[in-house]
Structure formats: C-alpha cells, structure tokens
C-alpha cells in the first residue's frame, strides 16, 4: 500500500509562494466581507488575513540550540451587530493545507458567522442591561476614508534568500566570540530572526489594504560574574523593519551584530566588577542618554497617552492614565512638562513602530502628544476617537491577525532638541549620567516610575569619574518632566520588541527614543538590607 506520508513529502509550499498567497486571496476575502450585507442588523465587519514568513536560529555559549523556518497564516474578524450595536470577534491560525481560496472562503465565512453570533448575543444583553447601566452605548466608529492600497516590504537583502544555516552560523559565532572575551563570562545567548509579514485588511466600508513589512531582529544576552560576586546580566536588541542587512550594520548602532554583542559583553564584564550604586533620599541632577530615554518615553509618555487607557479600558490590567481622569478633569491643554520638551508618536518615520495603515485601515499619522510641555492628544482607534471627539489617528494594532487590535505606540519619542549632549553633561557640577535602559516598574496611572540603567556614572565638575552597577532613577513622572532643563540634539530611535498589553497579552514591537535629557530624580540602587 502506498504510504500517504511519502506523497505528502511534496506538499511543502515555498515561503515566497506563501507570501504571494495573499495576492490570490484578495478576491475571496472581499467576497466574504460583502456577504455580511445579508446578515440582519450587521452594521460593520472587517477581516485581517496575514502571513508571517520567518527564519530563526539561536545559540548559547557557542553551541547551536535551534533553527527553523516557517510561514504562519492566521485571520481575525470583527463584527458590530444588533440594534444596540455591540462587538463580536473571532480569530484563528490557518494551516497550510487550508490555504486554497475555497478552504479560506469557508474558514472566513465560519469565522464571520461566529463573530456575528457573538455580537448579536452581546447586543441583546447590552440592551437588557441598559436601564440598569445607562452609560452602555451602541458602538460608534469615527468616520474614515476607505483605502485600496498595496505597500511593499523594503529590504536590501531579502530575508527569504538568506540560507537558514547562515542564520544559525551567525548565532553560534557571536555567542562563541562573546564567551571567549573573558573567563568571567558565564553565559551568552544569541537569538536571531528575519522574515516578512504581510497582512490584508478588508472591511464592509470598502477598504482593501495589503501591507508587507520585513523584520529582522537580534537578541543579545550575556551574564558575567567576578569570583564570588553577583552575576551581572545584560539583555539588548538590535533590529529594524528591513532585511538581513540590519544585522550587517544597517541599524541604530551602525555595527554588525557580532560587534554589538561583543560591546555588550565587555560592558557587562566591566560592570560585574563595579561598585553597586547607593540610593539617594533626595533628587539629584541626572543626565539620561537616548537609549535610556527610549524606555522612559515609552513608560511615562507613550503608555499614558494611549486613548484606551485614558478611557479606563486597561484598568484591570496595565492601568489608567493620570493625564485623563474624566471629560471635565484632565490634563489636555495643560503644562505637564518643561517648555523645552516635545513628544510625539509617528508611524511614518523609520523605526520599529513604522506602518502606513493601522489594523482598522486608518492611515497612521503623527500624533503630537506633548508640545512645548503642553499635553495635546492621545493615540487612538476609531471607537475611542469617536468617544473623545478627536480625529482618528491610526494607532490600532494586533501582534497577529487572530488577535483583537488595541491602541499601541508607534514610533513614540521625545523630539530632538538643540543642545550638544557633551555640553549638557559638561555643565553638571555634581550629578549622574544614566546610560542605557534596563528594566522598568511604573505605577498604575504612570504617575511614578522606577527604571534601572545598564550603567550609571558619577559626574563631577562636568566629567565622568566613576562607573556604578545596579543603579537607576525614580521620580514622579510630572516632576521629572517639568524639571527637564536641557534637551540634546542627538535624537535616536531604538527597537523595543516586547511591549506587553491586552488580555490575552499581546507583545508588540514599537519604536522609542529621543535625545539626551537633563532633569532631576532620586537614584535607586542595591536593595539588600
């Protein structure tokens, strides 16, 4: 008897074909969306169908640990239905064996029907509860134009053409070289992936948007320990929405990943022998570098300016925003930072948060969050824009098509200033230079933060005099922002690959950055009693 397994050995679809799969399915998806017009009281529906073609490898201590290439296909659908207009959702991955137009049509139709059933049931319950809870309201989406557009991925070296063994070889070489720097290196790990994401968005409003982005990323992890001491740990990333060239030097650090990994290794070894920083009870002058400010702007500006937080949707999870208590009591139009400070979120610029259209088909645009210290706006989606009576600005994304889109940062940054960073540091008689972010802890409404740094240097009379480990800063967010007295001209955007939000949690890539800043904050240090 002929084995079905031998026959199936020929079923593998080349990755390039899978990316092109979307092209052949546009008509199918549009047809499924158009069919929702026959569903009673269906007010809106959309479908996102995506492919993620990826090659990956990892190694630790110079030893190969894993590699592979895959193409993940999935879809998600949202429906608003019922007299009391409520949401219903459904999403799932799709197998390669199900990727024919006929199978896809069946799966999408079934998904739409599940979402529609949920929306109707939910709308009925909403109507039933309305007398009991008067603020329950039918979903209203802010109006947008509907676009038909195709966005191609940009790369010099196509991720699909990179041999998988080259990805693994790079991982093993980098982790082996790191390990060889010193006997104090206890552990090294490199994880690399490169690929192309393509996503089709179609809605009952007539949108049909096909966007592709390349993504290449490297994770560097190193642990160093001096004899008997506490291990010093460093994790850092390089990456970009580009091809394999990212790891060869076309990145924010302007160096190949091996050099970047060795730099972090040497720094970690040096830190393992440094003195722990002591916390201070009073604020001191601090100069924070662009890498540190990437996490700072993420936590104290980016998150609290997400409209869903402002409107309390994250109350049970990631928290609210101190910038918006209610419609009558909020910080919009008020001074919340030094007049020297401007912050914005802009998906149109190069960075991890780049895209042309968000997951609702809204063109992504620059949102001025803080202008000269005054709070100006929030990142939003169509539903939240309608509630706030703000124009929609295209900030909704989901990590994969089968997840529900939520408000996410894009490239969210402190704007560039006009001061030479060397001057900013040189003017400090006594203070600390806070270099490269590490780990954050932020209070519920983002009103207070503690963020650790990879390195802290003591500054005396404008000169760096001593390196410390285990340090960082803590402050009330408003105090820190208001006390900024210098903004550098060395603006940079860094890749932040792991911003967690939502339920179930979605880990999103965003771009964050800014220039050197000077302000005041309390130092944090080793906590051991």
């Amino acid at each position: 008897m002929k084995s079905p397994f031998l026959k199936s050995g020929r079923i593998a679809i080349a990755s390039s074909k899978k990316i092109n799969l979307i092209e052949g399915l546009k008509e199918t998806v549009l047809k499924v969306i158009q069919q929702t017009s026959s569903l009673k009281s269906c007010k809106y529906a959309d479908i996102r169908l995506g492919t993620n073609t990826i090659k990956y490898a990892n190694a630790e201590n110079g030893k190969a640990k894993g590699m592979g290439e895959d193409c993940l296909i999935s879809f998600g659908t949202r429906v608003i239905a019922g007299e009391m207009g409520a949401w219903g959702y459904y999403g799932q991955p799709i197998g390669e064996n199900e990727s024919s137009p006929r199978s896809i049509s069946k799966i999408l139709t079934s998904g739409i029907n599940r979402a529609y059933t949920r929306a109707l049931a939910n709308a009925n319950k909403k109507a039933e509860f309305k007398p009991f809870a008067p603020s329950l309201t039918a979903v209203n989406l802010a109006k947008i134009d509907s676009y038909n557009d195709t966005i191609d991925a940009i790369f010099d070296e196509d991720p699909r053409s990179v041999p998988l063994k080259d990805v693994l070889t790079l991982c093993t070489k980098a982790s082996r070289d790191m390990r060889g720097v010193s006997k104090d290196v206890q552990y090294t790990h490199i994880d690399i992936h490169t690929g192309i994401n393509r996503e089709l968005f179609c809605s009952t409003e007539g949108a049909c948007i096909d966007q592709s982005y390349a993504l290449t990323q490297g994770l560097v992890a190193v642990v160093a320990q001096k004899a008997g001491g506490i291990p010093e740990v460093c994790y850092d990333y390089m990456g970009g929405l580009r091809g394999w060239e990212v790891l060869k030097g076309k990145n924010i650090y302007k160096q190949p990943i091996v050099d970047f990994a060795l730099l972090r290794t040497r720094e970690t070894i040096e830190l393992a022998g440094a003195e722990f920083l002591s916390a201070t009870s009073e604020p001191v002058v601090v100069v924070t570098n662009p890498h540190f400010n990437a996490l700072l702007v993420h936590e104290i500006v980016g998150h609290p300016t997400e409209a869903d937080r402002a409107l309390k949707l994250e109350t049970a999870y990631a928290g609210r925003s101190w910038l918006f208590r209610n419609f009558n009591d909020n910080e919009l139009g008020k001074q919340i930072a030094s007049p020297l400070l401007t912050a914005y979120s802009d998906p149109s610029i190069d960075g991890y948060g780049h895209y042309r259209y968000d997951a609702e088909g809204t063109p992504g645009r620059r949102v001025n969050l803080i202008e000269n210290g005054v709070l100006k706006g929030f990142m939003n989606g169509r539903e939240y824009a309608a509630i706030l009576s703000h124009p929609p600005n295209g900030s909704m994304r989901a990590t994969e098509p089968h997840y529900v889109p939520i408000v996410r940062m894009t490239n969210t940054v402190f704007a560039n200033g006009d001061r030479d960073p060397a001057e900013i540091l040189g003017e400090v008689r006594e203070g600390y230079y806070i270099v490269n972010h590490r780990i954050p802890s932020i209070s519920e409404s983002r009103e207070n933060f503690r963020i650790s740094a990879q390195k802290v240097y003591k500054i005396e009379n404008g000169h760096i005099v001593k390196l410390y480990r285990g340090g960082g800063i803590t402050a009330d967010s408003k105090d820190f922002l208001m006390n900024i007295d210098a903004v550098g001209n060395d603006f940079q955007i860094f890749p932040i690959p792991n911003c967690g939000k939502g339920q179930p949690m979605q880990v999103m890539r965003v771009g964050n950055g800014g220039p050197t800043l000077r302000s005041t904050a309390r130092l944090t240090g080793r906590q051991k009693l």
Partner: protein, 488 residues
Amino acid sequence: MIDIETLRACVRNGIEFVKKQKDVIDAEIFASWNEHITVRLNYTSDIPCNGVHEPKSTQFSGIGLLAIFKAGKEIKVGFGSSSNNITPKGIAEAFQKARKNKLHDPDFKSLPMPIGKPVLENYHDHAVMEIGDETMIDLGWRALEGALTEFRQKNFNNSIIVGGDITILKERMAICSTKGIDDFDESTILTANITSMIEKEKVKGSGWNTNTHLSNFNPEESGRESAESAIKTIDGERIPSGTYNVIFGRQPVTDLFTNIVIPALSLSSINSSDTPFLGKLGQKIASELLTVYDDGTINGAVGSKRISCEGVPTGRTNLIHNGFLVGFLANYYLSKKFENSISSFIPRNGFRFEKGGRNHNIQPKICPTNIVVEGKEEVTSQSLLSKINNGIYIGRIWYTYPINGLAAGDFTSTIIADSYVIKEGKIVKPLKPNTVRINNNITDILNNIIAVSKDKKQTIVWGGEEVVMAPEIAIHSVRLDNISGFIA
C-alpha cells in the same frame, strides 16, 4: 474542535511513520488542540461604554515533532511543526521541517523516558468543552451584574469603573514517542478576574474566582467582591516613607512568586546563571517557616495537569522546605544537562504553554503548575494582624519586576488597591492606592517571614502562567516609599 481520539491516532500513526525513516534514531510527536476564550469587560458609568467589551476567542491545533537523526559519528536534533493539520500530511510536513532544521546540540542527551503513572483522570468539564457563545457572553454580564449590584446597594452610581475578564481555556493534547511514551491530557479552566473602582474616591478593589467546572464557577461573586473591596478602601491615607512590618495578601504573594521567586527556582535560570539561588542548593535561603512546592496533581486546582507536554506525569516538586532550597523546576532537556553537575531533578514541568494553550509550535520550556506556599506553623488571618501589631496590609501590587536583574534579587512594585493600615493588631484605615512603592530584595523578604496564614486561595496575576495556592504572609522590615505627591 478536535477530539482526543483523533490526536492520539495522529501521534501513534506518526511514530510508526517516523520509525520507518532510515536516518531517524528516536522521535517524539506532540499534537494538541486548544481554544482560548476571553470575555473582556469595560463598564464606565461616566463614559460611553460596552459593558462586555470583547467577546472573543482563538483556537489552534497542530503537530510538533522532535526527531533525532544519525549524522556520521554525531547525532542531530531537529524540530518541526504543522498547524491546523492533524493528519498524516501534517505529520509529513512536520517531519520534513524537523529534518531540514536538524543540528548538533552537544547538551542534548535523550528524549524523555516514561516515568511513573499519572494521578489525575478525567478531570475536565464536558460542559466547558461544549460551552456556547451565548453562555460565555452571559458569564461576562453576570460578573458585571455582581459588581454593579453591590455598588447600587451601597448607593454608588457615579464614577464607577468595572473591568477585567472571564477567561476560558480548553486544552487537549496527545504525545507518543519511540521511548515508549504514549499518553494524553484534557483540561478545562475558568477564571474571573474583576477590578472595580470608584474613581472620584480614588479606590480600587479586586475580586477573582477560578474553577475547572462551569457549574461551580461564580463570576457574580468576583464582581461583587471587587466592588465591596473598592468601597471598603474609601478615605485611605498616605503613609510616610520608611521600613514597615507588612502582611502581603494573596494577590501580592502571587505577584511576588510569579514574577520573582518561581523564575528564580527554574533550571532555566540556573542555565543562564541568572538567579539569586545559584550554587545554593541544600542551603538555607528563606525563613524556616516557609515551604514551597509545585504540584500539578491537586484535584480542582486550575493549574493541574495529568501529564506534562513531554508526557511525564505531573507530581509534587519540592522547591523550598522549611527555608532550605531543595529543588528546581525542570524539563527533561535541562534535567539531563545538569544531572551530573548539580543534581538529579525530576522533569515534571516541561510544558509548551504559549498563546493560551499547549502550543505545538514550540518545544517544552519550564512552566509551573500549581505553586503551593505553606507555613511551618500556619496561623489565622487575625493572628497575622496580631503578629504584625503595627504595619500595613498590602492587598494588591502591580508591575513587580527584578529591577536590577533576577540574579541581584532587587525588586520594586507599587501598591494599587485593597490595602490597609494596621495599628495594635487591627485594621484601622485604608491605605490610599497608588501612593506607595515597595523597594526590596527578594532574599530579605523570604528571610524576614513572621508567619503564614492557613487560608489559601487559587490566585493568578495578569500575564502569569502559574496558579499560586496563596496564603497571606507577614514579613518584617519591608521598605515602603511614599510616591506621587503631585496627585492629591
């Protein structure tokens, strides 16, 4: 939905297929089907809202295949997967990928061997497996009703927020290997995690409920409890920065264990040299009052599983016993890697939890099941207050991270709800939420335990994988800092 018989047949037939491949020494095939339902709430009395905001689900199934290949004098290991294709073609696709992805990993010793017999049998709920859309949406509205009824009965109608979710997990898996493993598992989990606020009063309350069976699940109660707790904490006061005796309630205990203690007690942290417990096996690392273990066999606990994703029966893994470090959580790969250099660890915690289920796309990592925290001589909650005498009861914390890296043990967190000031052994006033940051080292916390409560509750925190059977724990000398002075 894919039934367990289909999964079992797929992995068994798959192994027969792989055995026929000339260059294969050994293989393990894992197949699973999972559905993750979330009914997310958002009620705001003063802002237009949906009540039940997101009724949603995602389901996924597939095959993960790990094969060991001959390659001259070496062996090579390859992993491949196939999604939504529990068929012979799916096996062939996964195998083809495994062959393409094979590499030499000198730390790989062998595939898991059969170890013992599972304890749990038929512990899932058919009613949860079959739950319909209307029923699942109704669970969300019932949680909201519980909270709003409590608020209304106490005359709070404005400035109300009710958020959180009902989560339902359905998981089925089967595994078969050339080493003799041939088993399956099927589980259901229901959780309600509800947060209520009276925002103008700056108070927040929490309520939660967990179960494996629909008939015993009570989302209304979690809603009611969250509203009640918010009301109780009105008129909270600030405290000055200083060192306090505290009682950590069940949510903070869970938060600390989920984010700091348990990651530090995993062999993966030993592997990366990133734990404060490196080289401390057999040594005293905590108060003699503390015992901690992982137990995946507790009947009715939502972290329980029949077998791991490596086919190893779940069981009890002792981690800390009377203050001494006695074990680490392990999967098969790392248990073998370290068995000669450190100790032999039973690999009961090799799971493929990711994206709301037992994910065929990944190889087993180390995940806890039910973490049980016990005291040597457990006391009543009232007795904890007496032992503290003066201090703070901390009921909910947020954003707990090992701020200077796990190895250093330093952590920080903020107190956001459900907390009180204790004077002369009694709760006297609520603590104002969002005004205190905790700054400490986990090794000090573990060593400064005064007492552990008898009563425990299954608790899960946002983003956490494990369930903690959490008591309340009294600790002395905890550093608390007064923060956010600009917020009145």
